[in-house]
Amino acid sequence: MTDNPSETAESPLEGVSALESVSSLDVFAADLAAKVGAESWTADNGTVHVYVTRDKWVDAAITARDEAELGFFSWLSAIDWSKEVAVGEPAADVDNLEERYEVLCRLSSPVADTAAILVTTLAKDDARLDSLVPVYTGAAWHERECAEMFGIDFRGHPNLIKLYLPQEFEGHPLRKSFALGAREVKPWPGHVDVEDMPSVENVEAAAQETDGEEGS
């Protein structure tokens, strides 16, 4: 991921190295990053990520909706970056991984194909964020799901109760520290269960005892 340093306002493309072919996606991403006042942006694999600090989260969404016409609220979710992982494979270079929650919100244009993912990082201990419901009414359910799955508190959300899980459920399932029950209970059938040959082994053992280390 090429992290571009934050650009100055007047020439958003300055950060792009000359060699890199300036695709329309990069132009759109750089322009959006400038408008939103983002820390940095990336546009590889055809997906635009715009990294924003936590306090600029709501007005980044507002500018994205009004100026960049990204009125369609696609989805909002989070990723739990943590060193030790109770389930699945750990992250790439674990030791210098910065433990954090990353909240992502994808906005796209209802008519064209322009779209972007606003990303902000929250420290693990105070996972709080302003709610986007005043900007997009559709965000309510997504934020409720994100809150119950990761334990992130969305301030200003009309009724932040659990969406999927029963109200009295403790724990946040999508956190990496939450073990997957099904795999704890059943032993893994995959370990090789091929015993040695009873017949040959005794023959060899018997042979070794009688003739010393002559065995086959």
Binding site: D44, N45, F73, I79, V87, E89, Y164, L180
Partner: protein
């Protein structure tokens, strides 16, 4: 007119003939076991007589925790799981995920595989919309269209089964193309899973059959004045609500939002070579959503007829290492699933198992608009507008 609160009179008509007393509204639980909730969805409705004053959809009865499951499975195993999210359009779910992984690995699928994927996706769309055409009139009380649509849907499912082996859950997509051979061993390796003999002829006759079925549905359902009475002006989703709530697919196109991801996402499937148009209605009500879907069946038939004549020759799958290790990276690919925009945000840390997969499904947002739309509706209208959204609980709860 006069507001006499102390005796609980809310309204007195002009001639004093009818006096409306304030009765406390009844809480009516529609679901989770209810014939018209397409699965286990519970609607907690505050009802005044039969008019709904407040509606709170209560979901989660079908939550299987897909995103947690993807964190313990390799990419091939996830492929086998995701066609069960929206079990009515099985094949269409797989395409977006497999394209996302291909983008991450920088592998280009072969043209033949892409065109076969396109044909099978459109067949799945026809089978999904036919299921809608059978369950929507049933919500309104007409039982016969269900049997006609199901009978004609069997032809499409037979086609899917003859190619992929599975009617609902084909599990036919592989990174780099489609499933090349029946197995990994010496003999099974060269048993190619290409299109079976007589496939094109079968598709031709099935498409004529589907066309006749559309005409029959038009005569029996679309033209029927009673259905129009029940569905016109019911369950209005305005243009702004559709966008703000993230409503996508035929529901959004029924409210005038002209976006069809098949025209927008150019590198997903080779739709650019085929001519078809985007069906939109700006009636914003249940009837226009129904018209959009019937129109889309006809468009899909047109697409399939063009597609089977332009299937290029070539291998079924690109060169892919046997043990799949996806390089680190993030990508979001979205596809025009029959129920709406279905997208996969795959975060890979360079292993056999993805670090995080966020699954964006169409029905999740389509349902969230219900609490705003249902205020003031009668119970039969609520059932009609829920039916017109064509959602499936697996899609909503993941």
């Amino acid at each position: 007119m006069t507001q006499l609160d102390h005796r609980g009179i809310v309204e007195v008509s002009d001639g004093g003939v009818s006096v409306e007393l304030r009765g406390e509204s009844m809480t009516l639980n529609i679901g989770p076991q209810h014939p018209s909730t397409h699965g286990v969805l519970r609607l907690v409705a505050q009802v005044d007589g039969e008019r709904i004053t407040k509606l709170e959809p209560n979901i989660g009865y079908m939550h299987r925790g897909y995103e947690k499951l993807t964190e313990v499975r390799t990419y091939a195993q996830i492929m086998a799981l995701i066609n069960r999210i929206d079990w009515v359009s099985g094949f269409a779910n797989e395409v977006a995920f497999v394209r996302a992984v291909e983008k991450l690995m920088g592998i280009e699928p072969t043209e033949r595989a892409q065109m076969i994927r396109l044909i099978l996706t459109e067949l799945t769309r026809i089978s999904n919309h036919l299921l809608f055409a059978s369950s929507f009139p049933l919500e309104l009380g007409a039982f016969t269209p269900l049997m006609y649509a199901m009978r004609d849907r069997e032809y499409v499912l037979d086609l899917l089964e003859s190619v992929t082996g599975g009617r609902f859950h084909p599990n036919f997509n592989r990174v780099g193309g489609i499933k090349p051979a029946a197995g990994g061993g010496k003999t099974q390796k060269n048993v190619s899973l290409d299109l079976p003999a007589g496939f094109y002829a079968a598709v031709e006759s099935a498409m004529d059959r589907i066309e006749r079925s559309c005409e029959e549905l038009d005569e029996l359902v679309t033209g029927n004045e009673m259905i129009q009475m029940r569905t016109k002006g019911v369950g209005i989703i305005s243009y702004e609500d559709a966008i703000a709530f993230g409503v996508s697919g035929p529901n959004a196109r029924g409210s005038g939002v002209p976006i069809d991801l098949r025209k927008v996402e150019h590198d997903l499937l080779p739709y650019d070579g085929l001519d078809f148009d985007v069906i939109t209605q700006d009636g914003c009500d249940a009837f226009s959503r129904y018209l959009v879907r019937i129109g889309e069946i006809r468009e899909s038939v047109k697409i399939v007829r063009q597609a089977i004549h332009s299937v290029p020759a070539g291998p079924l799958v690109a060169k892919v290492p046997r043990v799949l290790k996806v390089p680190a990276g993030r990508v979001y690919v979205r596809a025009e699933n029959p129920k709406g925009e279905m997208g996969y945000y795959v975060v890979s840390q360079g292993g056999r198992i993805p670090y995080r997969v966020k699954i964006r499904t169409g029905s999740f947002s389509n349902i969230s608009v219900m609490s705003k739309v249902a205020v003031g509706l009668l119970i039969p209208d609520l059932v009609a507008s829920m039916g017109s959204l064509d959602f499936v609980l697996g899609d909503v709860d993941r």
